[in-house]
């Protein structure tokens, strides 16, 4: 689906309600766009391209403004996400403990590259640049839960209950 087509796609009622609720929660606050997008993503798992005109209209911004913000920040996703989000730290402290090897293991194990979602929609794999757990590298976050000193075996044990 082209981006243009996505923008014209109507939002279903449920999605529209969620976006309107996110907008209402920030009503009256100055410069609320980032916080609205966070709320939308928390509710829907991503920021649907079709949400952009609605958000722009309510916040009195141009579509380009909103699109510009959504695409500037790594955190905001524009496509649906897997049931479990796995973030692998790639920054220096984790590199000093050879996180590249862990990343290779995880990609092989799940059969998906960084930034991808497995075909069954179970896992989304994302790189992340520092989780603040740098004295216990390599660090991994799974569905918002932080894990330290993650070896390939430890990773397998962590995802066993998820599969």
């Amino acid at each position: 689906m082209s981006a243009d087509r996505a923008l014209r796609d109507p939002l279903d009622d449920l999605t529209r309600e969620q976006i309107e609720a996110a907008l209402a929660a920030q009503q009256g606050r100055p410069g609320p766009l980032l916080q609205v997008l966070h709320d939308v993503q928390n509710r829907l798992g991503y920021v649907p391209p079709a949400a952009i005109p609605l958000i722009a209209e309510v916040l009195n911004l141009s579509r380009a403004d909103v699109h510009g913000v959504v695409t500037f920040y790594h955190h905001f996703r524009q496509a649906p996400v897997g049931r479990h989000v796995i973030q692998l730290c790639q920054a220096e402290a984790c590199r000093s403990m050879h996180c590249e090897k862990l990343t290779e293991h995880v990609q092989r194990k799940l059969g998906v590259e960084l930034h991808g979602t497995t075909a069954d929609g179970r896992y989304t794999l994302e790189p992340v640049y520092c989780l603040g757990n740098c004295a216990c590298s390599p660090a991994v976050m799974i569905d918002g839960e932080l894990h330290g000193r993650v070896t390939p075996d430890a990773f397998d044990a962590l995802i066993a209950p998820l599969s």
């Binding site: 100055p30 916080q35 500037f72 955190h75 220096e92 000093s96 603040g132 004295a135 976050m141």
Partner: protein, 513 residues
């Protein structure tokens, strides 16, 4: 008898199983019909001992660690609730060597108190600074901060008092206090630990700042990667508001100060102050041209204090104990204490708060006890992804702003990442360019395009394609980025690259397999 048991809620402790240990202790106490009150404290910062469980005894707190869920029944059997012996017993917490030798001012309460209890905070000396500040004139508060010699702990090391004075001197209008909690440097976690372990200290520091310069609204710009800190801050703000320490009438003084946490969205550049302000306004985090300084035209075009978490959290102790007390720590132009973060390939990693002047060698070997892998330590990177790589031959350098600057390095936010002899420094130089390419806001061409060209050049160097000529181009590119970028991302990405080239040239000239 209600015995207090402490199990940290700190993200690192949780990442090592503290949450499960806390639940197991609760279950086991219940099963045995014992009454124990579980307190979820911050971390003491001795991460090789986490999860570190403490018990309050008549003779002070005793520590056990690292505790796993499997250890819990045996701890009860041994009588750990009375501080009795067990293979994991570490003795009185305050006597642990690596903790005892620290000089904790900013982290004085972290790991000790319940982070979101105003009563606990006040019982441990909290809000003494705000009370003194409320009895002072705005000018006197700013003078105290200036006199203390406090310099911005975020990385730029600009004198905090001078920033405040500039905001104070602007005509009365809506002013803001913003806290930069976008701690994106790899190897740093002091802000996170403080926000999770003693968030009220940051809140107090921001309140004092607001009262000093006449700002009624504060924002904490927190990175989205810190969900635990987010929860702790919001709980602490609610508790402070409920107790009258925040709101329309702070402690009955008639002064107003409100505080809100706003989340970033995974952009390293938003740790740069003008980019952070753009992001707080809900925009793309593109760097602004200075002047005007944020102190004159900052958030929403108004005079704004922008300080790092540790800078703001250092303010309460300066006000409570006086500028001279704080200034007496440290050396030369680096006054006070610095919370160092020892990270990466290190055996005893964690947080070490000391007066300026400790050497890298003391930090890495006395506190850190060498590499985690047991191999030789080859390099450290100080100050995050934009900091220089320092070779073992320079480990006797003192950790202060001037001494590090003299060897072409920088202290930044105080993170020290350790690498053993398996590190490929050419790979790390390539990574520095790659990181810059990913995180560039796009405003300046040398940073936006240069970083991508830098990755390509490094790939050619690594593949031994016209190697010496491409290394020469890397040097020239670094020079262009250094001089042609508005902010530190483009302007400092050359530091790790150039230092790797200078001290580890052999890594750039390996035979291609």
């Amino acid at each position: 008898m209600n015995i207090k048991v402490y199990v940290p809620r700190d993200a690192t402790a949780l990442s090592l199983g503290a949450g499960r240990v806390a639940a197991a202790i609760e279950r086991e106490a219940q099963r045995r019909g014992l009454r124990a009150q579980l307190v979820r404290n911050g971390s003491r910062g001795l991460f090789w001992l986490e999860p570190l469980v403490e018990v309050a005894t008549a003779e002070g707190r005793h520590a056990y660690g690292p505790v796993t869920v499997q250890d819990v029944p045996s701890l009860f059997d041994a009588g750990f609730l009375e501080g009795k012996a067990h293979p994991l017993h570490l003795g009185p917490t305050e006597e642990i060597k690596e903790l005892k030798s620290q000089q904790r001012l900013t982290f004085a309460r972290v790991g000790i108190i319940d982070p979101v209890s105003v009563d606990d905070y006040v019982a441990h000396g909290g809000y003494a600074g705000l009370k003194r500040a409320l009895a002072m004139s705005p000018g006197e508060i700013v003078d105290a901060v200036t006199q203390s010699g406090l310099r911005g702990r975020g990385g730029a090391a600009f004198p905090t008092g001078i920033k405040w004075k500039t905001v104070l001197d602007q005509p009365p209008q809506q002013k803001y206090v913003t806290c930069n909690a976008d701690e994106g440097d790899s190897g740093t976690f002091a802000d996170r630990m403080l926000m999770e372990g003693d968030p009220l200290m940051l809140i107090e520091g921001m309140t004092i700042a607001g009262i000093a310069v006449g700002a009624t609204q504060g924002y904490i710009y927190l990175r989205a990667e810190y969900p635990h800190a987010h929860r702790a801050l919001n709980e602490a703000i609610a508790a402070a508001r409920a107790s009258g320490y925040l709101g329309s009438n702070v402690l009955g003084s008639g002064k107003q100060f409100e505080l809100e946490v706003r989340l970033g969205a995974g952009a390293y550049i938003c740790g740069e102050e003008t980019s952070m302000l753009e992001s707080l306004e809900g925009k793309r985090g593109e760097v602004r041209v200075r002047p005007p300084l944020p102190a004159i035209k900052g958030l929403f075009g108004r005079p704004t204090i922008v300080n790092n978490v540790i800078s703001l959290a250092s303010v309460p102790v300066i006000l409570a104990k006086g500028a001279d007390f704080y200034k007496d720590f440290g050396t030369g132009k680096s006054r006070g204490t610095i919370p160092l973060q020892l990270a990466g390939n290190i055996k005893h990693g964690g947080l070490i708060e000391r007066a300026f002047g400790l050497t890298l060698r003391e930090l890495i070997y006395d506190y850190g006890v060498g590499s985690a892998s047991g191999r030789e330590i080859r390099a450290v990177q100080v100050g995050g992804p934009l900091g220089a790589y320092i070779p073992a031959s320079q480990f006797d350098t003192a950790i202060d702003y001037e001494a590090l600057s003299a060897i072409g390095a920088l202290l930044g936010h105080g993170g020290v990442v350790v690498f053993d002899d398996t590190v490929d420094m050419a790979g790390m130089a390539r990574y520095a360019m790659e990181f810059c390419a990913k995180e560039s806001c796009g405003k300046c061409t040398p940073c936006r395009i240069g970083s991508t060209r830098g990755v390509e050049l490094m790939d050619r160097v690594l593949a031994n394609v016209d190697r010496e000529r491409n290394l020469q181009l890397v040097e020239e590119l670094c020079d262009t980025m250094l001089h042609g970028s508005l902010c530190g991302l483009g302007g400092m990405t050359p530091f790790p690259v150039q230092s790797a080239l200078k001290y580890f040239p052999e890594d750039f000239r390996k035979t291609v397999q």
